[in-house]
Symmetry: C2
């Protein structure tokens, strides 16, 4: 008999009413009296569990009654609708077959565990309600990203993970090597000889696929990346991970306004998609993790995002009565406290800040006519601040070359990037969305370690 999946039963219980079916899964809770018992069985395909009722007519009633939590079983029985009761239906067991017994030392007993503790059993935590919800939302949100861009015929581009170049010139990269660390070849001046390394040169893990994505945008017009990126930043906070996934679209024949339109459409699409496909999970988060979640997400979906220049924002912040920890002045890098004040207090909806001072932004952003600011944008959202950062890219060869020199970078390293401005360059733009940041926003989870299956952070690469 083929297993019926809980996702299908919950989607349409009446289709299975009074039918003999077989389900399989893991025991979430079990309680039994002398003559009968109840099992909450979860099969992984749906957030909710199914209630199994078993009675003493079962040949193995006494064994079943003693099964520890997390034991896996296969149950044959009849589905009975139970309108008006807490469960919409239950399965009256005719047969329960043991698949795999769980030890009573199962570390995920039915009580409240701290998230810190659950990180130490990251291989088991997806069996809890919270992490079942987090990682299903993560999966569905990932598909929302792909569907959004593929529906618009953007070309998904797998930019390289191992790279010989440093996109932002920002440093803090992980070295990738096959050298024998006990015996690293050096040249006659004592310098490490990378010609013996696997790639014949120094290589690192990528911090961004943007520059390579631009090469594809100049061929396919509209492209996006979605893959892992890395920062060897020694920050032990709830917002930093050494390994995280980024979404980076690049669009040609497009300016900063087109870029903001795309970012706004994408965020609204992803939120709607997840709320539509994962109502049980979102309701759970709203009830247990973050009481304002649904209201906040609905506010994002229904708002027209504000668009304000950095210069205007600095004036608004300076005029406000709010005392900030960090002072605000034109040219300063805005802190999360400033960003949240703008989006939460001043506008109470998502805000694009645009046209930042060029000194605090990357070399590839397009210089505005004032020669002081660049066509950059950050999307700020209530609750966390910056969610997306993007810009129109500098398409003018001479300006770009001057910026590279100004920033102390080596022009030769960017020969292929400069080529894009020589052979039919076009105005183009793009942005980056930190995928974990988005999942935190969608779930109300506040620590990045709790939205990554197996997080990599300072001094931690377990599993």
């Amino acid at each position: 008999m083929k297993n019926t999946l809980l996702k299908d039963i919950f989607a349409s219980p009446s289709d299975y009413s009074e039918k003999e079916i077989e389900v399989s899964g893991w025991i979430r809770t079990i309680r039994a009296s002398k003559n009968f018992g109840f099992i909450e069985l979860n099969d992984g395909t749906f957030f909710n569990s199914i209630q199994i009722v078993f009675e003493e007519n079962l040949s193995n009633f006494k064994e079943v009654a003693k099964y520890p939590i997390s034991t896996s079983i296969i149950v044959k029985g009849r589905l009975v609708l139970t309108p008006g009761s807490k469960q919409p239906f239950e399965l009256k067991a005719a047969e329960i077959v043991l698949e795999g017994l769980s030890l009573s030392s199962y570390p995920l007993q039915k009580k409240r565990h701290t998230f810190e503790y659950l990180r130490t059993i990251a291989h088991l935590r997806p069996r809890s309600n919270t992490f079942s919800a987090v990682f299903r939302v993560r999966s569905v949100a990932a598909h929302a990203i792909h569907s959004f861009f593929q529906d618009r015929r953007f070309v998904y581009t797998h930019t390289p993970i191992i790279t010989g170049s440093d996109c932002e010139g920002a440093g803090e990269m992980f070295r990738v090597t096959t050298q024998d660390l006990y015996n690293i070849p050096k040249d006659e001046n004592g310098k490490i000889d990378n010609s013996f390394d696997f790639f014949g040169k120094e290589t690192n893990l990528t911090v961004s696929g943007q520059l390579e994505a631009e090469t594809f945008a100049l061929a396919f017009r509209n492209v996006y990346t979605f893959g892992p990126t890395f920062r060897a930043e020694n920050s032990n906070t709830g917002r930093h991970a050494a390994e995280f996934w980024m979404v980076e679209p690049e669009i040609s024949f497009a300016d900063l306004n087109d870029d903001m339109d795309l970012a706004e459409d994408m965020i609204k699409y992803v939120i709607k998609y997840v709320m539509d496909k994962c109502p049980e999970e979102i309701n759970f988060f709203n009830a247990r993790i973050d009481k304002g979640l649904i209201e906040r997400l609905n506010n994002v979906i229904s708002s027209d995002f504000a668009r304000v220049t950095y210069t205007e924002a600095v004036e608004l912040l300076q005029k406000s009565d709010k005392k900030f920890e960090y002072p605000v002045f034109w040219g300063c890098d805005l802190q999360t406290e400033h960003e949240r004040y703008i989006t939460e207090e001043i506008y109470n909806k998502p805000v694009f800040l645009t046209d930042y001072p060029k000194e605090i932004k990357a070399f590839y952003m397009r210089v505005n006519d004032d020669n002081k600011t660049v066509a950059a944008m950050d999307m700020l959202v209530p609750g966390i601040g910056e969610l997306i950062g993007g810009s129109q890219r500098e398409e003018r060869l001479d300006v770009l070359e001057a910026r590279i020199e100004e920033m102390g970078l080596n022009k030769d390293d960017y020969w292929w990037y400069l080529d894009l401005r020589k052979f039919g360059g076009v105005h183009h733009a793009g942005f980056g969305l930190g995928f974990e940041r988005a999942i935190m926003y969608l779930t109300g989870m506040t620590n990045i370690r709790d939205v990554v299956p197996f997080p990599r952070t300072v001094k931690n690469a377990e599993f």
Copy 2:
């Protein structure tokens, strides 16, 4: 005026007939006489280009006539259907605005270039027909993978890239470190002290997400990974890359037959999806790259895949008249020549080979009752041989522990993997598809370097 995209015009030309539209893109070819000229303009959203007709009434006719290939332009004009002629329609230009001039040194002139040469300009090669087709197919095939699994509610799981464990015990991994290679800390015995490294231990790039995916399969029942994996294998062939993408589903309450059903369904789905969404590209490959492509793909879609044990296959090979380079005997690792003979000559359709000798397979594969073979399967397809490898996983704790010891691995390294067999283990299975191998199969391209945007191979990490 908003640009109209070529994908939309080609989808329904009559919607635009006799309308004034604006398109933008890059000049693929241009030829002009004294009074008029033709431009093939490609905007990246579609495989085909649009024909622009321009005449001397254009104010900048003389400049336009001299634009080098790859110059980017914006064209306003009227779309005219031209039934019966080579082009289904053309755009009669009323205005052509220069966006970005291309230098005449543009290295991708309209002539046949070798694939080897095009690899040296990987940042420009997607502007050629072949690579435009390859990378659009790659994108669409990636979405096919996601759609296939998401439709079935599999949970997409981002398994870690940086890992402290070595899944297969196969070695040949890339080391990831932030140590100063000039001054690596050592302990009093001269051993490298990894406690000073970023993660406080030795870390490498993953070769497979399978073991971590299994932890999620034991919570969500059905999961899949799709991400980059790495092998530091010193093989300079057309089939090996150091960085490649893998698809790895894991299914619970499933045996080897379920695993083969899933693999067969997935491959057929992906091929159908790509043929349906990319007919221009597939026709191009069939005409220019591999004349038998469409026939071969159709054969896969319409066949019921054969299922044959390794033992039967060895007998069939031994009985055949074919002279092989490598001898065939029970216990040998089958070579590509054997695999291709089986699938091309004996069956002329895809074949699953099952139940391999345990000595030549990994520790986690389920040992069969004969205690000589394991419940493994390889999917062989005409044209290339092995496309997918999978197995039922060993769910019995004692057998698994014995296998780990037998293979000389350290049990302690697998504590969390063994936990899965202690706390409600279930029979489960999974497989791995090398995504590049699949793209080669879908396109007829024969070198892995030509299906990866920026390939990483021995001594090569350019761009």
